[in-house]
Symmetry: D2
Subunit: 344 residues, 4 copies
């Protein structure tokens, strides 16, 4: 049984474990003030050519979102999110638990455009309603789609024009930045948004996300918020060390590229078999629409998530590939799909 | 330079890293539903002879406290804590951020007695004030002291009699349960309190605390709270695996014993040199009162925390030993102290 | 200029002011423990033939909603509301500010049916999402529609079957219970829902809503929540006295009847002129669809709210009548409408 | 039986009721945007010679405190309060319910001095602790004492020097500003603090407090916070009208003066009988220390609050006089006290 359920089924890239072993008995300061965190932050800043951003390492994605958003907003302000957004659906009300409404808007393929946000502004006109203040998007989105440089720039300009903060959930940012068709860089991101995070957990780390705060006015006192929400790890070294390893060379990007290429290979193969897809995804999550009987056959050897019903005889499934996904598994999976499609 | 600043300056016990390596590419379910978490929970339950408790693995201590306390209380209810309690002082208002007041009471040596709590109940008489509902203590306390079985039983009976929940912060529970003079067991704890946590981070794990919920009515829906506060790690395996390793045999207790014995050795030696202590601590944190000039000399080779001024010429320092503290370092430290004391 | 903008443009029914005058210098206990509050509660209980409900008087509607909902829910639980619901749109994020998500569902004419709630339950399947726990509806709804006894009974049964609390926002409950076609009584309500409030502000009081808590398990410690949210007025007498006056005889219902009949009269007249309506409302809010030029003419003498655009040449307006609305004003308004319609 | 229990046992000053009657059927805008609120705000601004402050009318004191403090602070910031402060003791955790810790410091006679706040700053040194940001005081204090102009100026300078906000709970501000020995004016207050409120409820209004926000940066979006916390009354006229009446001439101050002079008269009389006091209070709350048998005798005809035990045979009682307290009652009370003292 091989699982395409998600990209966090395995542990960490071996180089990360190696780094943990090598530094294990070194005594270092706690709470993210160790040399590994510092080095990691420097490496990431260098990668985006910016020394004026703040970087904090936080154990998980939901936590990063809730800390950032609650630190950035005043009590009456709300976040705007696409309807599929992680903060609105799959965080068990984490943002609301910090006191803020998440305004969900339909969007398109998991993405937000200026006109989507404009509609929210048009509706929220006075103090009887919350004040939309932060736009939350994810890249890649929950549907595997990505923002082009132009799309993000348009959204960014709109936000600045309307005094809205722009925040990017980058749980799968590695995958986005190495996707076919991507023309965004870390440096672009840093110049266009107020804050974003670089996901480690879903790209080869054991645990950890790197929150990048670009806007100076959002940087003040940020460590208080990390501490208050319980995310300031005593052994912060665990987070710093992993990001140091991922950004010491381009390991972070290579791992994401591998995951993407595995998904692309499956997508191309299925397409050539006549299969359609829910959304056009260049990243490591793909959403083929398969006949139910083929799904049933595949489930004998592969685990994956059934996303939604398509029609009476078809369903959309989600296949996720990871940094650790072996090529031979992918080839075997494609071979099996081919057999099944051809036996119809 | 050797650091006695805390017990989280090093990484993890080598057996833990080894276990991470060995299981690294095994694909397992996310969010704490993997076999490692299950095994770890079973091992801990077996150690306390209870199958009716719930065990959840959570990245850090502040987080465990805030999730548990906010899940257990209704909005108008408050926690009672000794003035030195971690939740009242060193968690950046984490409990208040979930909406609850922490009522601080002086206590004695970092501990609470029934009469301390009774005074709180006497003061809080109507709905114009918060309703005290949960008693928070730590074992070992922030001052290194421990609760005897009898002391805990008295507090437990008092709480049950007054419909108060009793919660134990066990960031250093390993140290407490292996201290000289301790007569408490995990089984005792589980029978006397409503919930407690077993600290991993300060006893040889890279990260992680095991929250044990003993009272059935507090168990319902608990995973929602972990998720909502951002503590449900995608790779929950990281937590489960470490606790499996710590509780597979008695590694957890052996590590704590080692830390305690290193601190005891220093304490005995200093005492024989005529040194007094802020508090009588049998655990891995000790608080000698040293002449300021000796402190200055020691700081050339050793790092530690200056706790408070004692008088014009003396200060209280905190020395913390860890599972990783080498005997030869302790002997060298004692030797140096002896030299300094005798040179007066 | 006469205003049909809302039903809180005037002060209070003269009998209420009279009662304030007569009791003004009587010294009474503070914080709702005065004889007026007690009498008012007894009168309301008598009206519904129930002695086992708890009644609390609270200054405003948003406040009543936020206190009740935050007191009833645990942190991970959410409220389900129709998309037009006051808590989801016009309370500036009051519910979220207490930590809870409001799940908006489309509904029909401002109302929720069991199938609407079922869809929410189907979607929320695990601890990665909030747990739907309370169903919020209003009667009359924000669109002036009402629940029949049968509709409410079906929703109530559904909620009990699925362990959901049912809560009714009764800001305009007087209007609902005296509407043409209504077959619900206060006693019915109390037997079908867990809590509801009887709106005073929009039915002749200066200020004040009476929250009725029907379910015993929701009654415990409720005054703590009122106090904590700042709604326990020192001079609670102000609230008690008004509700005593409104329920001493049937003044409460008579005032609502008057408001309804004024709106009905306008509705019938407009209908006979060929005017269509956004929704079929038997209550004191009506939503005619008028030609824009007629709206412009009417606005010279009457104030009202333009609800939404209907098409290029028509808009929906909201007309609200109150307990204080004079018949002659209504007749004059109808007369003017008739002139305008006939001049086309 | 006459009650000296508090200053909110009666209704409102007759002129206020008269104003309600006279304006009752006037249709005005809701939510504090009516002409009465505007006039009242203008009158108060004129009284302090400031046009750059913002004034909001809010139903109650706890509510005003919680709205202001939660609007002014970011999540990690805390309020510093004297141990006797209303927000720390008698608001059922209202401030904590908005997410903020209240740091209680002993103070002196219910007041805070710069050195009291300095001690808090010295203790709170890093992000593991909350950040003290707002200093909360009350005038008069809970013990009836008042701040002199010099005392308040010293505290104000200290706060500005340390980037702390200064907030004054003025539930009994009328009494403070008309106390013997007072040298503060409304204008002084407005120039020294960031925000304060002028209490109506305890000085002749039925309900209502006027929050004055002096610092421009705290004024932005404030109505959102009032709405979100449920304090934006639909019939805001009720609040505006009362403050218009109180500040149309000096009624507000005359009512407070009367209350003070009644308490002073009792205090002088008791003192001349040899009675001691817990605190030296020039305001409408006094705290005589009486023999228990005299207390028992007085309780036959008068209600008041027993504050605390003094010794085995004496207790401190609290006597509060109000705007409505008749001179003859005070004279009779003094007469009775004299009889009792002389019968010893």
């Amino acid at each position: 049984m091989y699982s395409f359920t998600n990209d966090y089924s395995e542990g960490a890239h071996p180089r990360i474990l190696q780094a943990l072993l090598e530094t294990n008995l070194q005594q270092v300061a706690g709470y993210g003030e160790d040399p590994f965190c510092r080095e990691a932050a420097e490496l990431i800043k260098a990668k985006m050519g910016r020394s004026d951003v703040d970087i904090h390492f936080i154990p998980g994605g939901t936590q990063t979102n809730l800390i950032a958003i609650s630190a950035f907003l005043r009590p009456h302000e709300a976040a705007v999110s696409p309807q599929t957004g992680h903060i609105g659906v799959h965080e068990a009300g984490a943002i609301e638990a910090t006191g803020h409404k998440v305004i969900a808007v339909p969007g398109q393929d998991g993405k937000l455009r200026p006109e989507d946000v404009q509609a929210v502004l048009d509706f929220h006109v006075d103090e009887h309603m919350v004040k939309p203040r932060l736009v939350y998007i994810s890249n890649t989105t929950e549907l595997g789609s990505i923002y082009t440089k132009r799309e993000l720039m348009e959204l960014s300009s709109f936000c600045r024009q309307h005094n809205l903060l722009l925040y990017v959930d980058g749980a799968r940012l590695g995958s986005a930045l190495t996707s076919e068709g991507n023309d965004l860089t870390l440096a672009d991101l840093a110049s266009m948004v107020d804050a974003f995070y670089i996901g480690g957990t879903k790209n080869g780390a054991l645990i950890g996300e790197a929150l990048v705060i670009c806007s100076e006015q959002l940087q003040t006192d940020f460590r208080f918020h990390i501490k208050q929400k319980g995310a300031l790890l005593a052994k912060g070294r665990l987070l710093g060390l992993q990001f140091r390893e991922l950004f010491r060379d381009d390991l972070f990007f290579r791992l994401a590229e591998h995951a993407n290429s595995m998904a692309n290979r499956i997508q191309r193969a299925l397409r050539s078999l006549g299969c359609r897809f829910l959304v056009d995804s260049p990243s490591n999550q793909i959403f083929p629409i398969l006949p139910n009987w083929i799904i049933a056959e595949l489930q004998k050897d592969y685990a994956f998530y059934i996303w939604q019903q398509a029609d009476e005889e078809h369903s959309v499934v989600r296949l996720v590939t990871s940094w650790a996904c072996p090529e031979e598994v992918v080839d075997r999976f494609i071979h099996r799909c081919t057999e099944l499609f051809q036996s119809r």
